[in-house]
Symmetry: C2
Subunit: 210 residues, 2 copies
């Protein structure tokens, strides 16, 4: 009979995980709040090397936390991001919205000649001002958000630019960091990113500490 | 005014992404079907280096595909995994089930002295035989599944062992690969894994080709 030796207590697993990440990751260039955020994101990725690609605007953590406390909605480009947000951590029972399956989205996608991930942003425009936008999947969504901001769309309080992938992901995040139209941002440079790190970032922002 | 130069067509993005991954990833140790699976998983991770950690039992792809075609349910340890499955790709309108929020789960967790991720497996036992089990988050769920199989639980058709993290993840996947109680498995060795790669694997298994 095999005996399996493992920790069965969730909190003990978290604590040990965070200790390992802090021991193995160079967090010296981050503020204390940013370091907490980085630890959570590394935790979701399973890869301490990811931290070197994190780039946080100096006002990002305070802007995102302030918006969430004030009840801002969280707009997500992918259902996996939305479903990764731990509702119990949110400070103001914030709405978490992904509009991929909104009935308006496919028609808008055809009209604008872009993906549904990008098109869904039109469903957010009425409440985009002061919101938290989390792009964890589609570079097209991040590029299109930038196009809308360029053309005068209402400004979110903070943007998480964390799409993953091989085509456009790195470029979209570089574009956000180069000109975010005054909106504080967090990006993961290069190809890494994705729904798990994005949701982890939102969960970190939702409640200070680990 | 900034001009953003990017591909706006979803299918073109997929095709270019897969071509880049095939060019950069050593897939020579995989069968053709396994290579398609590996490409999808790399795509979800944004990291071609992940492929060296993939370990597929030789019967895994055929066992998982056969089960899905026959209508097997997919049991997932995390909501993010379940919500990453593209329903339209499933061959038999398969049920995709995560029981973290099942009302029985917290009580079972207390009884067995384990996490809710592990405890939820008791909700699956009636239909575990011939199912596809996808563990993309919690090492405790994978370890506990192995304990139940050791003690005579019904056998799934295939197990995706892909929890991510720093405490128990690598060990749980090594344990599955060492003795899967006769069930074909796929694992990602080491710390990497997670809901995105797990959902991508399920989406690849659901429909042959890319």
């Amino acid at each position: 009979m095999s005996e399996y030796d493992y920790i069965r207590d969730g909190n003990a697993i978290y604590e040990k995980s965070f200790a390992i990440i802090r021991a193995e990751t160079d967090l010296s260039r981050f503020s204390e709040d940013e370091a907490d955020l980085a630890v959570r994101m590394v935790h979701a990725s399973g890869y301490v090397g990811a931290a070197e690609f994190f780039d946080f605007h100096p006002d990002f953590v305070s802007a995102a936390r302030g918006a969430l406390k004030a009840g801002a909605p969280i707009f997500c480009d992918a259902n996996m991001v939305a479903h990764g947000v731990t509702r119990a951590r949110l400070p103001a029972n914030n709405e978490v919205i992904c509009s991929l399956t909104d009935p308006r989205t496919p028609e808008i996608a055809r009209e604008i000649g872009n993906t549904r991930s990008a098109a869904q942003i039109h469903c957010w425009l009425d409440r985009l001002a002061g919101s938290v936008v989390a792009i964890g999947n589609a570079p097209t969504a991040l590029f299109y958000l930038l196009e809308l901001l360029r053309d005068g769309a209402p400004k979110p309080a903070a943007i998480l630019g964390m799409p993953v992938g091989f085509v456009g992901a790195a470029e979209s995040k570089d574009a956000l960091a180069e000109n975010s139209y005054g909106v504080p941002y967090a990006v993961i440079r290069g190809r890494l990113g994705g729904s798990a790190m994005t949701a982890a970032a939102l969960n970190s922002l939702a409640r200070p500490g680990l």
